[in-house]
């Protein structure tokens, strides 16, 4: 549905931002043309608002109000701030790819640690390479643009228009990576916008782990991050994906992950949102081959006035696939958690096994959680189920723990950890699971 709107003042402002940024955006000729088309697709709707069904709980037009100008490329000072922000993330044993304010920073990355069987290029270098025009053309999800940007929505279209950099990773068929690939997004500027787009292709029978971290340097405030990750998982391949979003407390993060899963493949994707005042993480997962399994789990840890929206679209397009979605959100103060889980089982997708469970824990009177499971089932030989609960901490459990010596805060922390535990336990990699647990523990400790 296109809502034709007269160009508002804010609409003109965004146009100006795009025009001003154009020279910085890598790619000329055909690529520049596609960026223009993508921007037009964004403009047709503009910032999504609550009359769009997918955005009914997260009216970006009201909550975000404006699109900020593109962040300048990082200078030496920004690099320094970013390095400091990396902190303990540097000790994660991985192949580290650091994007600072939307630009790949080789000096803070360790591409030397790349294992054989993996190829990494920067989006910028591929787009600027004139000889790659045809390939560059494919990077921007043409199908979506042909559909007027509607398939993935205006924020993904805006991402296509404004992406400054990202990483393009190809894991060769049969390769089994020992170390995770770690994409670290660091924001160092205030009141600016960052757009990144990355691609991950896992070849047939290959196995890889992808970790994404979003952090802010000291002093980086009120920025907007828009990231898109497009993943294609080959037949018989396995991917463990963990995303930890810990942007600054007043930042906006609107991100998208698009997964296409081949036959007999396994995808385990986990997202933890603890940062940002406003965030939307949307996952599009499509089964393109039979006999595959997807686990898509997430945890929201929210306080203050945070608004975090996780929206998943899962398409059982082929038969004999299984999917599990476990979502847990912990909401304190006046925060607001949103989970929308839409599953479509296409007419030919017989023997589909799909389960979704979303639970919200409200820790205060003003906390709010919206859970919207949506199942559209067009095949008749399937097993599909969903559940959604919202509640407070169990008083009898709290008393039991207190009667054993735990203070009120300690008792709450133990129960909250148990609550999010089921979602975090699903992470197969020990190291990444520990990292997620550590982040959750820090959030709990900060409650005081």
């Amino acid at each position: 549905m296109n809502i034709a709107l007269a160009k508002t003042e804010s609409g003109r402002a965004v146009e100006n931002i795009f025009t001003a940024a154009r020279d910085r955006l890598p790619g000329t000729g055909k690529v520049a043309e596609i960026r223009r088309q993508a921007f037009d697709a964004f403009e047709r709707i503009g910032l999504p608002h609550r009359r769009l069904e997918d955005w009914k709980y997260t009216d970006l037009r009201a909550l975000m109000r404006e699109v900020l100008p593109l962040a300048p490329a990082p200078d030496a000072a920004a690099l320094k701030r970013a390095e400091k922000a990396l902190g303990s993330l540097k000790s994660v044993d991985a192949c580290r790819l650091v994007l600072i304010d939307g630009v790949l920073a080789p000096s803070l990355s360790n591409q030397g640690a790349l294992e054989s069987g993996v190829r990494v290029q920067s989006l910028r270098e591929v787009l600027e390479d004139g000889s790659n025009e045809v390939r560059a053309d494919l990077l921007f999800i043409r199908a979506d643009l042909l559909n007027n940007g509607e398939m993935y929505g205006p924020m993904v279209a805006l991402n296509a228009a404004m992406a400054t950099d990202g990483v393009i990773i190809a894991v060769a068929a049969g390769a089994a990576l020992a170390k995770p690939l770690h994409i670290i997004h660091v924001a160092t500027r205030s009141s600016a916008a960052i757009y990144t787009r990355s691609f991950l292709q896992i070849g047939k029978g290959a196995r890889a782990t992808l970790l994404e971290s979003f952090v802010a340097a000291d002093g980086a405030q009120s920025y907007q991050a828009n990231d898109a990750v497009i993943v294609s998982l080959g037949d018989d391949a396995e991917l463990q994906h963990v995303r930890l979003m810990a942007d600054s407390a007043d930042a906006v993060n609107i991100s998208t992950a698009i997964f296409t899963v081949g036959a007999k493949a396994r995808l385990n994707t986990f997202n933890q949102t603890s940062g940002g005042v406003l965030s939307r993480y949307q996952g599009y997962l499509t089964f393109a081959g039979e006999g595959s399994k997807v686990d898509a789990n997430g945890v929201n840890l929210l306080n203050g006035r945070q608004h975090a929206d996780t929206t998943l679209f899962l398409d059982h397009a082929v038969p004999n696939c299984a999917s599990r979605e476990i979502f847990r959100s912990v909401v304190d103060d006046r925060a607001h958690s949103v989970f929308q889980g839409r599953i479509i089982v296409q007419p030919k997708a017989q023997k589909t096994d799909a389960k979704m469970m979303t639970r919200a824990l409200l820790l205060s009177d003003e906390a709010e959680a919206d859970n919207k499971p949506e199942l559209e089932i067009f095949a008749d030989d399937v097993t599909c189920g969903h559940g959604a609960t919202t509640g407070a901490l169990d008083e009898s459990l709290l008393f039991y723990l207190r009667a054993r010596g735990l203070s009120e805060k300690e008792a709450q922390a133990l129960l909250i950890q148990a609550f999010v535990g089921e979602a975090i336990e699903s992470i197969a990699s020990d190291a990444l699971r520990e990292l997620a647990i550590l982040t959750a523990q820090r959030w709990l400790a900060a409650r005081g």
Partner: protein, 250 residues
């Protein structure tokens, strides 16, 4: 100085007075049994001593080691040495028994200014205690009480008692839901913890438990008060005559 002194305790739950001036004195080394029919207020007494919310003390006081117990939070009471073995221990999925035990013991020790146990030391200690109680290590890796039978839940309470070494153990209807064998195992565990420095208050309906955990004193409660106290023979008398005579006396 007595370990526990309950003086003229009056307690209201919602809009009903449950305890009407209950008095009880317990010294170290003693085992007291509290018996009475349903509704006599036995569980209310144990809950008020442990600090469960929802109970309003409208009169009287409770001194523990000479200190005002009612002024302390439940965790403070636990650190001071009060332990309530719950009648219906709760299940806590997602929290392993081992983690719970270590966190609880360390919380109590920290409150007392004692050093906390590190994981390896604690594991050793916990395994040793579990072995003495015939609790398999595998059980300690499961969620607290998750999937435990009634007997296993009660044994888990006793395991905690053995680990925390409280000064005052209140066993709230420990025999409920247990068959004879489970009862014997539980009672053995409790008896092994009897010591001159420890006091126990055994709350029960039935005399049978007291064949295994032999009390020094027996008190009969009816309608929110202690109506008769005596030695262990009183329990046998009760079994013969029932509670009815005490209902009228209350």
């Amino acid at each position: 100085m007595s370990l526990l002194e309950v003086k003229d305790l009056q307690v209201r739950v919602e809009d009903r007075e449950i305890l009407h001036g209950l008095s009880l004195t317990v010294n170290k080394g003693e085992v007291h049994a509290i018996m009475g029919p349903n509704g006599s207020g036995k569980s209310t007494l144990s809950h008020v001593i442990a600090g469960k919310p929802g109970y309003e003390v409208t009169g009287g006081e409770i001194l523990f080691g000479g200190e005002d117990l009612l002024a302390m939070s439940p965790d403070q009471r636990s650190a001071k040495g009060v332990f309530l073995a719950f009648q219906y221990p709760v299940e806590i999925p997602g929290v392993t028994t081992m983690t719970f035990l270590r966190t609880a013991l360390n919380a109590q020790r920290k409150a007392r200014g004692e050093s906390e146990f590190l994981v390896p030391e604690f594991l050793k200690k916990a395994y040793a205690v579990a072995e003495r109680l015939n609790i398999p290590r595998e059980m300690l890796k499961r969620g607290v009480n998750v999937g435990f039978s009634g007997g296993e839940k009660k044994r888990n309470e006793i395991l905690q008692m053995a680990l925390f070494e409280p000064a005052l153990c209140i066993l709230d209807e420990m025999d409920s839901g247990l068959d004879i064998d489970a009862l014997r195992v539980a009672a053995d565990g409790v008896n092994a913890l009897r010591s001159p420095d420890r006091a126990m208050v055994v709350i029960t309906h039935y005399q049978r438990l007291l064949n295994y955990i032999i009390p020094d004193f027996v008190h009969v409660m009816s309608k929110g008060r202690v109506v008769k106290s005596g030695g262990k023979e009183l329990a046998l008398e009760l079994e013969a005559s029932g509670y009815a005579q005490f209902e009228d006396a209350a």
